[in-house]
Structures are given as structure tokens and as C-alpha cells.
């Protein structure tokens, strides 16, 4: 059995009456990639801060390479080889790559003057350790998110890191960048470093880590070897809820389709798209980024105009020339980037909920009826189980999943016949994901026609009653989710068998 790089035992920590950690234990073996998982508020971040010396625990013990401590301060933690890569990377955007790499080290050595030759030597040594090619004189703000992260990692290595803690390192990365990051992590592991990978994304946990620890409400709920973990148990440990592996089967499709698209084309985006959509159906559209899937649904919502083709709604040709026209036809759209497109982040939750129906909630002379707003808000918060203490809090205080529910509620408050969801559970925690899926099935059963655009294949398989695979701007095949598999879908969307 390998020696442990870090072992914490029975850590408790409370913040004024609220117990964030209730006797948590965690062990990371030398040279291991360990995953720390848990939903928002499970105590992950508090635990990291205890390990890195930012918080002093109320009770418990920390053991690092055989040395025992009741608590650490940040300098001691760094001295013991513990490095945290924060979600914001803690870099200086206005300084050059070279300075970002060298400054911390110079500070640790209590230098008063800057020697640029020495700084350059430190910096080039740092980036070469992970084979990272970058212009040392470029300002960090001009680099991509992934490059900034590599800078934070290189910087951590400079301080003789033995254990690197990465706090949700993939949240702002593209798939390609995640792959590159994983290669870097493997490379660090091969040099004997231990990695604590903090994440709530199941796929990543499976792909990168050897062992895992799951926290829920400040307690250990499970730990063990990742190989013995499966989707269902992972979801159960994370949320404490059992999820049925439900699949949606549409009830009756009705005779006339609600939406009928005929030969729709738009230059450079998609060509000759035709399909029908009936009430009660959930149509899944999947394909890679750039396959034209987003452009297609944006056309249906009036954001883009098609070059040719027809869109019929309830059998009549519809001219969807603007978003307003689309809404008038009863079409709703939840964009992929709800942060910039869907919500008024600094505004209160209740205001966001009612924004699309304000005219219905206002009395004579356009004054808002406060009572009606309060009633409507509490109804939606209850119905969609939006987790918040106070509907007056700004929307940005909600987790991704709950924000998504607010966006959904907003559309449901108005009269819709077609709802289009682009990446409905992107960046959403597992519990909310299941809630959103259940909600979609309920809505469809009540007669709404739904289109979901998603590259989350298990999600498409679980929710859609019919799947259309898009590649390079065209539909390549229509599939019945009951008769297909994830690998078949991925073959079709990439075109690689």
C-alpha cells in the first residue's frame, strides 16, 4: 500500500452556527489522482481551505507526509508542498506571463528588487516542466482561459508542489482544452505528484481519477475506487436521492403537427432541413458544436433568418421575422448561455421570474400589483423546487441548476405551445438535472411540444421521444431512442465509425 500524501481525519468547521464540515475525513495516496466530489454547499471548498491553511478547523487532524498538524497557516501549507489552483487561477491579468510565474517565488524568498533576467529564467523553467509553449512577454489577459490555467499550474510547480489541489478546473474550458488539461495532470502524476481534483462532473471523475471521495452536507458519504463506481450510485451519493432511469415515451402524437419545417436552409449554417413536431413530443437534436444545431433553433426563434424554406405552425405558414414574432406564435427559447442571454443576474429572483408576464401582473395605469407578483413567484418556486432562502436575492446567488429553473419558469408563465431548450442542463448539478428532466417530461405530457438541443448524449437518450442527428448543417439520421445507443449517436454526429 502506497504511503499517503495527505490524510485528514474528523475535521469539523462551523461558521457562526452553520456547520460546514461535520467530521470529514479524506486520504490521498502518494502519486494518486483523487477526486473530491459533491454538490454546491457540500463543504468541498471549506475542506480545501482547511487543507491549504486558509481556515483553522474547530477539531480534527491533518497529516501531511507523516507529519501531524491540528491546523496550518497558508505559508506552512505551501512549505509542505500544497498548492491550490483556484477557480479564478489567481493570476494578474495585467502583468506578463513571465512576471506571473516569477513574482510569487520572488516574494517567498523575500526579495526587494526585481531582476528580469532571473525572472525570465524562473519562468522558462516553469513552463518547460509541463511542456507549455507560450510567449513569456505576453500579458496574461490576452491569453485564453486554458492558458491561464496552465500558468497557474506551472507556477504551483515552481514552489515544489507535492500535492496540487484543483478547484473545479474544467468549468470554463472547452472539450479540447479539458483533454489537454488531463494530459498535463497525467504528466504531473507520472512525476510523482498527487492531485486532488475537485469536481461535480461525473464524466470527468470517471475519466481522470483513481479514487474518489464524495461529500454531502458536510459529511463523508462515500469513497473508494472509481472503477467500482457507476453513474447511478454516483448520482445517489451526490444528491442523496434515488433516480429512476426513466425514458420519455410520448403519449399520443396528435394528427396535425404543431410545427412543420420544410426545406429550411441558411448559407454556411444548415441546408435543407425538414421535420415535424407534434404536441407531447420531445424532439432531441444532437450534433457537434458547429454542426448548425444552434443556428437552426435560433432561426425557429426569429434570431436568424433562413435563406429559403418554410416554417409552418399549426398547418399555417408562419413568418418568424423577429423574436417578438416567435413569441407571438407561442415559441419559447432557452439559450445555451443563460448567464449572458437569459437572465438579469444582479436582479432579484422574483423579478426575473415574472419579467415576461409583467403586463398580466399590473393593474390600472401600469402599476405593478405586488400581491399578485408575490403569489406568482412563490407558486413557481414551489412548483419547480427552486432552492433559495429568499426570492428577493439576486439571481446570481443561485446555483446553475436553479438559475436554469428560473429561466424555465419564466417561459412557463407565458402561454407556450413550443419550447426550445439549447443545452438545457449544461453546467448544472446532478440533482437539478434530474429535476429539469422530470419537468420536461411533465410539460410534454401536458401537451407542450419540446425541442432539446444537446450534446449530452445520455440526456438526449433519456428525454427525447425522437432523435435527429445533425452533422455539417444537415440531418444525417432520425433515430428512435429505444433502439439506439450512445456510441451509435456519437458515430453519427462525428461521422467516424
Amino acid at each position: 500500500m502506497a504511503a499517503s500524501a495527505l490524510r485528514v481525519e474528523g475535521i469539523t468547521k462551523s461558521f457562526g452556527g452553520v456547520q460546514a464540515l461535520k467530521g470529514v475525513s479524506l486520504e490521498i495516496k502518494s502519486g494518486e489522482i483523487h477526486c473530491l466530489a459533491g454538490e454546491n454547499g457540500s463543504g468541498k471548498s471549506t475542506l480545501i481551505k482547511v487543507i491549504s491553511g486558509v481556515y483553522e478547523p474547530d477539531a480534527g487532524e491533518i497529516e501531511i507526509h507523516g507529519q501531524r498538524f491540528s491546523h496550518l497557516n497558508p505559508k506552512e501549507a505551501i512549505g509542505l508542498g500544497i498548492q491550490v489552483i483556484y477557480q479564478d487561477f489567481s493570476v494578474f491579468p495585467n502583468l506578463t506571463v513571465m512576471e506571473n510565474l516569477a513574482l510569487n517565488m520572488e516574494l517567498m524568498q523575500n526579495r526587494k528588487l526585481v531582476n528580469y533576467r532571473r525572472a525570465r529564467a524562473i519562468a522558462s523553467n516553469a513552463v518547460s516542466q509541463i511542456g507549455f509553449k507560450v510567449d513569456l512577454d505576453e500579458r496574461v489577459e490576452n491569453l485564453s482561459v486554458a492558458d491561464r490555467q496552465l500558468i497557474a499550474i506551472s507556477r504551483a510547480l515552481l514552489q515544489e508542489a507535492k500535492l496540487i489541489i484543483m478547484d473545479e478546473p474544467t468549468s470554463a474550458l472547452t472539450k479540447k482544452e479539458v483533454k489537454a488539461l488531463f494530459e498535463v495532470i497525467k504528466r504531473l502524476q507520472s512525476r510523482g505528484l498527487s492531485i486532488l481534483f475537485v469536481s461535480h462532473k461525473l464524466d470527468e471523475v470517471f475519466e481522470i481519477s483513481e479514487r474518489y471521495t464524495i461529500l454531502r452536507s458536510g459529511e463523508n458519504v462515500a469513497s473508494g475506487s472509481t472503477k467500482e463506481l457507476d453513474r447511478k450510485t454516483f448520482a445517489f451519493h451526490m444528491t442523496g436521492r434515488q433516480f429512476m432511469d426513466e425514458r420519455y415515451r410520448s403519449q399520443s402524437l396528435g394528427d396535425t403537427p404543431i410545427l412543420s419545417v420544410k426545406g429550411l436552409s441558411r448559407g454556411g449554417a444548415y441546408a435543407d432541413i425538414s421535420f415535424d413536431l407534434a404536441a407531447g413530443e420531445i424532439l432531441g437534436i444532437t450534433g457537434l458544436l458547429g454542426s448548425g444545431r444552434t443556428e437552426l433553433v435560433e432561426t425557429l426563434f426569429g434570431i436568424l433568418r433562413p435563406d429559403s424554406g418554410r416554417i409552418e405552425i399549426k398547418g399555417k405558414e408562419a413568418n418568424i421575422s423577429s423574436v417578438k414574432a416567435a413569441i407571438r406564435q407561442g415559441i419559447g427559447y432557452v439559450p445555451a448561455d443563460r448567464l449572458t442571454e437569459g437572465l438579469f443576474q444582479p436582479q432579484a429572483i422574483n423579478r426575473n421570474l415574472v419579467i415576461s408576464v409583467l403586463d398580466r401582473l399590473s393593474g390600472r395605469f401600469g402599476f405593478l400589483r405586488r400581491r399578485a407578483i408575490t403569489d406568482a413567484t412563490s407558486k413557481w418556486i414551489k412548483e419547480l423546487s427552486i432552492a433559495t432562502k429568499d426570492p428577493m436575492l439576486p439571481v446570481r446567488t443561485l446555483s446553475g441548476g436553479n438559475q436554469q429553473k428560473v429561466v424555465l419558469a419564466r417561459w412557463l408563465a407565458s402561454d407556450l405551445s413550443i419550447l426550445i431548450l439549447n443545452g438545457p442542463t449544461m453546467g448544472v448539478d446532478i440533482g437539478s438535472k434530474y429535476d429539469i428532466h422530470a419537468l420536461m417530461r411533465k410539460l410534454a405530457a401536458n401537451g407542450l411540444a419540446i425541442i432539446i438541443v444537446s450534446d449530452d448524449l445520455p440526456e438526449v437518450l433519456a428525454c427525447a421521444s425522437r432523435i435527429l442527428v445533425m452533422r455539417a448543417g444537415a440531418f444525417v439520421q432520425e433515430l428512435n431512442p429505444a433502439e439506439t445507443t450512445e456510441s451509435r449517436l456519437s458515430e453519427l454526429s462525428t461521422g467516424i465509425a
Binding site: Y86, F92, N94, E106, L107, M108
Partner: protein, 338 residues
Amino acid sequence: MISVGRIARRSEPYVLAAIVALSVLIQVQSGQFFSGNNLVDLTRSLIVPALFSIACMMVIVSGGIDVSFTAIASLAMYVTDRLLLASNYSGNVMLAYAISAGLGLLMGALNGFLIGFLKLPTLVVTLGTSSLFTGLMFGAFSASASDVPPSIAMHGKQILFTATNAQTGLTSNMPSQIFILIGALILVFFLLRYTMLGRGIYAIGGDETAAERAGFNVRGIKMFLYCFVGVLAGITGIVRISMIAYADPSTMLGMELTVIAAVVLGGTRVTGGLGTLTGTILGVALMTILSNSLILIGIPTYWSRAFTGLVIILGTGITAHQIRSTRRRHARAQKATV
């Protein structure tokens, strides 16, 4: 490595181009711009705003804003002036500089304490202390225009050389105070570029939390910064009254907005983190030419304010545009890698 693209993204070249274009225009129209006495005149009127702008640039780089430096300079020089007059002091002017700098230090320390230790917003603090210092000057010291002690008057007469315009016969004196500006430039250049303290000022302006995590003494750096600004302001106060040989308590009040504008025009990022001495001096030079030399081509002085305003809008507009286009380039680069 220096790349053309990186230079084109900076604002110094644009400000320099504007200065060159404006000088050539005035020269062609009047034939007077490149005359010795005009250049000396310009340099002379540039000294005080340039000293202020150095201090102001440092504060903006750190992510703050200071509007109190002119009030500090005024109160420090006025108290010094009255003290020396009352004690009939006739020795070296260095004492005047030392007292004024010391008073500036105290006032700067008050800013530094409120901003660094109590973490109050810089604009609010310096607006407050600016009012406080001006009020003290006119209230407690019932300030009014006053003579200067002999040491300061003497100092004002130390001139390096006199430039005479052959055509008009006008003369201009190059004051020895230019050395104070040169000294301050060298000192601040070294401080900002080669000391950890200076890099710390940039680091705080870039990301204060990251600076703290990296181990910078953020409170200490802010305390130092506002004390330094106070000292520089105190010195500038004496420079000013020695050059006009007259201690007018309101001679510098109101300059702070032009100075801030010049600093921003010179490419210092308003939100902190970026700013150079070269850019700052170029910004001040452009503003000085606008307010001094437009009269040479027959544009009345009151128009110079309007031109100054236009240049500020244009200048900051270009900077804002550059930031936006950099962002767009990023977004595109990000998309391309997907």
C-alpha cells in the same frame, strides 16, 4: 521580443502622433511653435502638472483614484510658507521642501490609513480629505494670497538659461525646478520597474485577491503609495509657488481633473493595472500644448478648454475601442479552438 502588434495596441504611439501633428500644424500656421522661447514656455508650464500626474498615475495603476493631491499640495505649501515667513527664515530652500514634504506625508498617511486599513473606497476618501484639507486651509489658516519667504523667492530666480525669440524679442527662462521633475521621473521609474514594491502596485491593480494570495503586503503597499503621493504633492506645492513667487492658496485647486485626464489619455487604464511614465508625460505634454499653444494660431484661450474636452473624449474613446476589439479577438480565438 517586441512585436509590431503589441506596440500598435499601446496608446503612447497615438498620443505621440497627435503631439507631432498638432505641433506641425501650429508651426505651419504661425511659425512660432518650434521657437526656443515657446518650447521653454511649454516645458515650464508642464513641470507642475507632470509632477502631479506621476503621483496620480501610480494611484490609478493600483486600482484607485486620488482627487486630493492638489489639496494636499496647497495646504502643505501654504502652511510651510506661513511658518517660514513667521520665523523670518532666510536659509536654504531645502528646508521649505522638507517641511512641505513632511506635511504632505502626514496628509497622505491619512488617505493611506482610510484606504489601506479601513478599506474605504478611494474616490470617497480622497473627495472627503480633499474637502477637509481645503477647508482647513481657508478656515483654520484663513488663507489668502501671500508673499513667499526669501529662500523660496531666491529659488524661483535660479534659472538655467534664457531663450529669446529672435522675431518677437520675447524671452523665456528655463527654471531649475525641471531637475525636480527629472529626479522624480528617475526615482519613480526605478521604483515601479525594479522593486517588488512597485510591481506590487501593478499587481494590486490587476487583481487584489491574487496579490494577497501571492504574499504581497497589500495594506502596506497602499499605505506607502498614498504617503508617497502626499510627499510628491508637498514638494510640488513648493515648486509651484517658487515658480510664480507668490503663495496663492487656490493656484492649484481644480487642476486634479486635468491631471487625471492627462494620465488616462496617456494610456493608464482607469480600472487599474496598466500605465507607464512615458505615456503619462506624453499625455501631460499634449494637454499642455492644447492649453498653451493654440493661441499661437489665433484660437482664443477659452476655446482650448473645448479642445481639451474633445481630445479627452477621443483619446479615451480610442482606448475603449482597443479594449473592445481585443476582447472580440479573444472571443474569436476561443471559438476557433473549439
